[in-house]
């Protein structure tokens, strides 16, 4: 089972490496969206500093969503998804491996770039660190919740827009606690509460999301 977990993970990472342009696109999307905001609202440093957490997080939600249709979409099209479902291993475990790969490819880069963008928005060292930590905790939630939407809309008409409709409302708590963590640090009240709530949310997502994704995948293949 562990071997299968590693195999799924390694295959997705290798596949993404061969198609790195796809993944880089959503990362650049993230950078561009964040960079557009100062042009829209003006370069006032105080305003930018208050907006920064929200802007970075909303852009992260959108960027994470952009890559969702690919998670199962290509597997569904080329038949590897059927092979995945028909292995004797628990599908939830294999799904977890796929989500881990998705997070590594779409979430971790966002967390790594975000501090730079935070500096652009005039955030100080402390809040930038918290921004990084919050994204590191929050993006796996985005991958897991998003995976449910991606699996539910497999092979469905207009699935790209539908994913957004299904998933974005479910992202609200992650957005609130993630952006809240940074705001709390800026305000000097400490981010520990927010970060632990994010971690709790991540635990819930790790337990429940693979089950929902696996069920949705089986339904999609019927």
């Amino acid at each position: 089972m562990w071997d299968a977990f590693v195999a799924v993970f390694a295959r997705d990472v290798l596949q993404a490496w061969r198609r790195r342009a796809d993944w880089l696109t959503s990362i650049f999307f993230f950078v561009i969206v964040v960079s557009l905001f100062p042009l829209g609202v003006g370069p006032e440093p105080a305003l930018l500093r208050t907006m920064a957490p929200g802007v970075v997080w909303v852009a992260a939600l959108l960027a994470a969503m952009l890559s969702l249709p690919r998670v199962f979409g290509s597997d569904f099209a080329d038949g590897t998804l059927e092979q995945l479902v028909l292995t004797p291993h628990p599908l939830t475990v294999l799904v977890l491996a796929k989500m881990l790969a998705h997070w590594l490819l779409s979430g971790v880069p966002l967390a790594l770039i975000a501090p730079v963008l935070g500096l652009q928005f005039g955030l100080e060292g402390g809040p930038v660190g918290v921004l990084f930590a919050a994204l590191l905790l929050g993006t796996p939630c985005l991958s897991l919740i998003g995976g449910v939407g991606a699996a539910l809309t497999l092979g469905v008409r207009g699935s790209g827009v539908l994913i957004a409709l299904l998933v974005l409302p479910l992202y609200v708590p992650v957005l609130i606690f993630g952006a809240g963590a940074v705001e709390a640090t800026v305000a000097g009240t400490g981010a520990a509460g927010h970060l632990s709530l994010l971690a709790a949310g991540l635990l819930i997502a790790i337990v429940l999301a693979p089950w929902a994704i696996a069920a949705a995948l089986r339904i999609a293949l019927e």
């Binding site: 071997d3 299968a4 195999a7 390694a10 290798l14 080329d78 059927e82 092979q83 004797p88």
Partner: protein
């Protein structure tokens, strides 16, 4: 070993077939025939537990496949219409990941042997996207040369897009599988030299 009783299937609201019953025992091959849209693929998907049947039962080694899903999957190799290959990975990489996922024993030598058996040895390091349709099918079929541990082979149009030489090679391999006590259920529209005496036919009609 595979017992199917009174199977019924419908797609959307259209009934595809009903009252399908058959047995396949060790060393036998079942050739499922029927026109396009008669439900051949649906039948195969029901057999390996991908789709639910409208009615009827499928038993493998005496147990319903719904109760003993894992046992069925341990014994089954399903080759669908789609090849199940990743376009961006090489033939050898595809086989290696596939074997590890399926829990098959996949040493470098075995992969090498499987590729040689399918005539793909020279293309082992080529990304699947550069292969022709027939070569892709052969790459998908290479799994069969690593799947001795799988007793039940369920193959959807395995001969599609294959050249004459590959057809003969696959037919011979199927024969060897049956000799070893394996079972196979397959669909095909082609006249192929299926192992004589051990092949039974099932005709799906509306």
């Amino acid at each position: 070993m595979l017992e199917v009783r009174d199977l019924a299937c419908q797609r959307g609201e259209q009934p595809l077939f009903n009252g399908v019953s058959f047995d396949v025992s060790a060393g036998e091959l079942l050739w499922v025939e029927g026109r396009n849209g008669s439900g051949k693929t649906s039948l195969l998907r029901i057999l390996c537990g991908l789709s639910p049947a409208e009615a009827g039962t499928v038993r493998w080694r005496g147990e319903s496949i719904h109760d003993a899903r894992e046992a069925l999957l341990h014994d089954t190799l399903f080759l669908a219409h789609a090849n199940g290959l990743k376009d961006d990975l090489t033939v050898a990489e595809n086989l290696r990941f596939d074997a590890r996922l399926a829990g098959l024993h996949a040493s470098a030598e075995r992969i090498e042997a499987a590729l040689r058996a399918c005539g793909l040895r020279e293309r082992r390091d080529l990304a699947v996207r550069y292969l022709s349709q027939g070569q892709r099918r052969r790459a998908a079929l290479a799994r069969l040369w690593m799947a001795e541990s799988r007793k039940l082979w369920i193959l959807d149009e395995p001969f599609a897009a294959l050249d004459a030489e590959s057809v003969d090679r696959l037919a011979a391999h199927l024969g060897a599988h049956l000799d070893a006590g394996g079972l196979a259920v397959l669909t095909t529209h082609q006249e192929v030299p299926l192992p004589a005496g051990r092949t039974r036919r099932l005709r799906l009609a509306h």
